[in-house]
């Protein structure tokens, strides 16, 4: 695989994680109960964080 293809794959994984995380966060955004908060913190934020980290990794992983 070429360098740019590897980057593209990382970016794609990051996009999926970020989207999944934002989707979960959006689902419980209006919830006024502890369960909504827990899902936000224990599922939404970790997914988004993972996505952002994968994206950052894609920036530094491949030297051009």
């Amino acid at each position: 695989m070429t360098t740019s293809r590897i980057i593209d794959r990382h970016v794609r994984i990051a996009a999926v994680l970020v989207a999944a995380g934002l989707f979960v966060e959006l689902l419980v955004l209006r919830g006024v109960r502890p369960a909504a908060f827990l899902i936000f913190v224990l599922a939404g934020i970790p997914l988004v964080t993972a996505g952002v980290l994968v994206f950052l990794y894609s920036l530094v992983s491949v030297r051009n």
């Binding site: 740019s4 980057i7 593209d8 794959r9 970016v11 794609r12 990051a14 996009a15 999926v16 970020v18 989207a19 995380g21 934002l22 989707f23 966060e25 959006l26 955004l29 919830g31 006024v32 109960r33 502890p34 909504a36 908060f37 827990l38 936000f40 913190v41 939404g44 934020i45 988004v48 964080t49 996505g51 952002v52 994206f55 950052l56 894609s58």
Partner: protein, 206 residues
């Protein structure tokens, strides 16, 4: 229309849209692509999460939030007792505490970072509720005895408080928390959930 209510929603939809773009076309080769990726996969996700988190922090102060756990139901009911000796009821019904943040207004600590401490206690409640053994509502106790500081946050210096002969006589002991505001014989009826079966309720009761 954009209101404080719909703004977070809009942010999230934009964020999702941007992420979708990079799923379909994960090209970051161009300069524009790089910038857009930074916005879509870094700035927006973090911004949305921060906005969402602060929304949840606001929600956690609401009366609705506190009463969303079944175990707090009788405390919610105690706000509607038709007897002004019930301190929580007397404050709630006359909006002496904001009705939509009634519990939080009395149960936060009025010190630096008191709000954070209150939320941390809330996490402990969540833990007990889901993973521990929740007590019977009437057996629930505060972690530490109610501190006069919370009452005095509103009442100290107020004419109705300062002009009462009883308060004047033991003013220092009240302020230093030596004598509790809710001592027996003083304002000792707060929620009294064990006795709610025998009281009258105000019309607004749920």
């Amino acid at each position: 229309m954009i209101t404080p209510d719909t703004l977070p929603l809009l942010l999230f939809l934009l964020g999702l849209g941007l992420a979708a773009v990079f799923f379909v076309r994960p090209t970051t080769a161009t300069r524009e692509g790089k910038i857009l990726a930074f916005v879509g996969l870094f700035l927006f996700p973090l911004l949305c999460s921060a906005v969402g988190f602060s929304a949840h922090m606001e929600h956690s102060k609401t009366t609705t939030f506190c009463l969303s756990c079944h175990i707090m139901e009788s405390f919610g009911k105690s706000l509607y007792v038709d007897d002004s000796h019930y301190i929580a009821a007397a404050h709630f019904q006359h909006h002496r505490v904001p009705a939509d943040e009634a519990c939080y207004t009395c149960h936060t600590d009025y010190v630096l970072y008191g709000g954070i401490r209150a939320k941390w206690r809330g996490m402990r409640h969540v833990y007990v509720q889901y993973l521990g053994k929740p007590p019977a509502p009437a057996a629930i106790q505060l972690y530490t005895p109610y501190n006069n500081r919370e009452c005095l946050h509103c009442h100290l210096g107020a004419r109705s408080f300062e002009e009462s002969a009883t308060h004047t006589a033991i003013h220092d002991d009240i302020v230093s928390n030596q004598v509790s505001c809710i001592s027996s014989g003083c304002h000792d009826t707060v929620h009294n959930v064990a006795s709610l079966a025998n009281v009258k309720f105000w019309k607004g009761a749920p």
